[in-house]
Amino acid sequence: MIRTADGVSRSIIDNLPVTIEAILGVAEVRVGDLNRLAEGDTFTLDRLLGDAVELRLNGAVVAYGELVSVGDNFAVRIQSVAHS
């Protein structure tokens, strides 16, 4: 059994179920313009700049990656992950 530096069993942590959320950053707008957003308004993502999708665990960004699709679902190709 592997133990971490603070003595917690590594296997217990590894088996912990977690849920990560994916947030696609769209644009920066003014607060005053938020209520002017209307159906049909569009924002083009600049793929060349690598608009990163943030993967968040309990609100903290633990990874980011590129927006792709897997079948009919959104997916993210990981570019970087937080160190353990």
């Binding site: 977690v18 769209v26 209520n35 083009t44 990981i78």
Partner: protein, 254 residues
């Protein structure tokens, strides 16, 4: 803990209100007199005399004995004797009435509207004398032989004291929404969630794929400053080579 009740307002220190009234009167005196002399203010033992002619309102009024009006008028024109001519006396009293009305108008502004009930400088009927509970001060200028009484309620006293302390002008408050309007904020879309174990998360590396539970055709909840918005959705669509986020429903603000 002491059983003594705290006063609602700290009582003014001796002379505070008198000094504030002197500060308030100085510009009025400078407007109406060529050489007004020093402003002298002291408590008036007669309280709010009902036989005076008052200008202003119950909370902040200026009053003067009818007989003193002609003397005030004479001081205004720099004359040496009142004279017995009724026409001259009427002119002097009319001039003094205008100065007194101006004083009432200034009281209205300085006391935050406490004297607003009788605009236009009308002299109050003696029956409309200020409340007896008001603080009454007697003010005069230099060696003049007239005096004006100022009857001040609590609000007017506080307003004049604050004005004398340089705190009389309060900033105009903007609407919070207007102040926030220029602030930049990031908006985004919630692409969904994925369940995995901490071990799997720790084992992720560059190039790995993680699929989420929302479909490509779903309207995605909007995220504002990293937090889910209460309303508003968008769809991610392809437009040729571009990926476009199209608003499906705007954000409703209460």
């Amino acid at each position: 803990m002491s059983g003594a009740a705290l006063p609602w307002l700290p009582p003014p220190r001796d002379g505070d209100v008198e000094r504030a009234v002197a500060v308030f009167l100085a510009p009025w005196a400078a407007t109406w007199f060529a050489a007004p002399g020093a402003v002298r203010v002291k408590p008036h033992p007669g309280r709010s005399d009902r036989d005076l002619r008052w200008t202003g309102a119950a909370g902040a009024a200026a009053g003067m004995a009818p007989a003193a009006l002609a003397r005030l008028g004479l001081a205004l024109v720099g004359g040496e004797a009142e004279g017995d001519d009724p026409a001259d006396r009427a002119v002097l009293e009319r001039l003094a009435g205008a100065a007194l009305a101006d004083l009432g108008a200034r009281l209205e502004v300085a006391s935050g509207g406490a004297a607003s009930e009788t605009a236009g400088g009308d002299l109050l009927d003696p029956a409309g004398a200020p409340p007896a509970a008001n603080l009454v001060l007697r003010a005069c200028l230099g060696d003049h032989d007239w005096a004006v009484l100022l009857s001040l309620g609590a609000s007017a006293q506080v307003a004049l004291r604050k004005a004398a302390a340089g705190q009389g002008r309060r900033p105009v408050l903007a609407r919070l929404a207007e102040a926030l309007a220029p602030e930049p904020v990031r908006i985004g879309c919630h692409l969904g969630s994925a369940a995995l174990s901490a071990g799997e998360l720790a084992g992720l590396g560059a190039g790995d794929l993680v699929a989420f539970d929302r479909f490509l055709t779903d309207a995605l909840p909007l995220v504002v400053a990293g937090e889910p918005a209460a309303s508003g959705t968008a769809r991610v669509v392809r437009d040729g080579e571009d990926v476009v986020v199209r608003i499906a429903q705007g954000i409703d603000f209460p």
